[in-house]
C-alpha cells in the first residue's frame, strides 16, 4: 500500500511542478525554491509529518521534504534549547543529504571530464 501511495504522491508533486513550469515563465530554479518554501510551510504545523506517515518513502524524495526536514530539526532542537535551538538544529536532518551531495559531486567532478 505504501508503494502505491509513494507512486501517487511523488508523481503528483512532479505533475504540479511540470504544470507550473509549462504554463508560466518560471524556470526550474524558481519552481524548486517555491517547493522547498512550501514544504517548510506545510511542516510548520506538522502536516508534512502526517503525509510521511501515510505515504512513506515517496514523501521523502521530492524537494518539499528538504524544507520539511530543515524546519523539523529546528523545532526539535528549539524544544530543548529555546529560541537558539532554531539556529542550532536547522541542519540536523538534512546534513546527510547535503554532505552526501557535496562529497559525491566533488569526487565525480574530479574523476570525470565534462561532456561537450
Amino acid at each position: 500500500m505504501l508503494l502505491i501511495n509513494s507512486f501517487l504522491f511523488c508523481g503528483t508533486v512532479c505533475l504540479i511542478a511540470q504544470i507550473i513550469l509549462d504554463n508560466t515563465k518560471l524556470t526550474p530554479g524558481h519552481v524548486t525554491s517555491m517547493f522547498v518554501v512550501f514544504g517548510a510551510f506545510l511542516d510548520s504545523f506538522s502536516f508534512y509529518d502526517k503525509i510521511i506517515k501515510v505515504v512513506g518513502g515517496g514523501a521523502l524524495l521530492p524537494i518539499t521534504s528538504f524544507g520539511h526536514s530543515l524546519i523539523h530539526g529546528a523545532l526539535a532542537k528549539a524544544n530543548e534549547y529555546g529560541i537558539l535551538g532554531i539556529l542550532m538544529g536547522m541542519f540536523d536532518l538534512t546534513a546527510t543529504g547535503i554532505t552526501a551531495a557535496i562529497i559525491f559531486s566533488f569526487i565525480f567532478t574530479l574523476l570525470f571530464k565534462p561532456k561537450n
Binding site: 508503494l3 509513494s6 507512486f7 511523488c10 508523481g11 503528483t12 508533486v13 512532479c14 505533475l15 511542478a17 511540470q18 504544470i19 509549462d22 504554463n23 526550474p28 524548486t32 525554491s33 522547498v36 518554501v37 514544504g39 517548510a40 510551510f41 510548520s44 504545523f45 506538522s46 512513506g56 518513502g57 515517496g58 521523502l60 524524495l61 521530492p62 524537494i63 521534504s65 528538504f66 524544507g67 530543515l70 524546519i71 523539523h72 529546528a74 523545532l75 526539535a76 528549539a78 524544544n79 529560541i83 532554531i86 536547522m90 546527510t96 543529504g97 552526501a100 551531495a101 557535496i102 559525491f104 559531486s105 566533488f106 565525480f108 567532478t109 570525470f112 571530464k113 565534462p114 561532456k115
Partner: protein, 151 residues
Amino acid sequence: MVIIMKNEKYELIAQDHKAPNPRLKNAIIAFVVGGIIGLLGEGIIELLCYFTHMSRNNAGTIMIVVMIFIASLSTALGFFDKLVTKFKCGLLIPITGFAHSMTSAALDYKREGPIYGIGANIFKLAGSVILYGIIAAWFFGMIRFLLGGRV
C-alpha cells in the same frame, strides 16, 4: 492599417502550423517518472527494512544517499542531462535534481580551477534551494515557536 491586417493574418497562419501542444504529454511523463522514482525510494526502504532489520528512519536516510549517489554518477557520466530534457520535472523535483544541479555546475566550471571554478560554482543552482529553504524554515519555525506550539 495594412500592416496590422498583415500581422493578424500572419498570426493565423502561424497558429495553423504550430507543433501540437506538448503540455499534456509533458505532464503525464512527469507524473509517471516522478511516481517511479517515489516507488523506487519506498522499495529501497522496504528492502533495507526487510533484510537488515534497521529502523525505518535509518533506511530512509540510506535511500536518500543512494539516490544522490546514482544521480551524481549518472550526471558525471553524461546521460542524466539527456534524461532531464526528456522527463523534465519527473527528475528535477525529487532529490535527484538537487544532486544533478550540483554535479553539473561543478563539471561545467571545472576548467576554471579548483577554487574559482568548482568551489565558487558548485552551489550555483543548489544555493537558491538551500537559501530559501533556510529562510522559510527559520521564518515559519519562529512563528510556530512564538505561538507556543511545541513539537
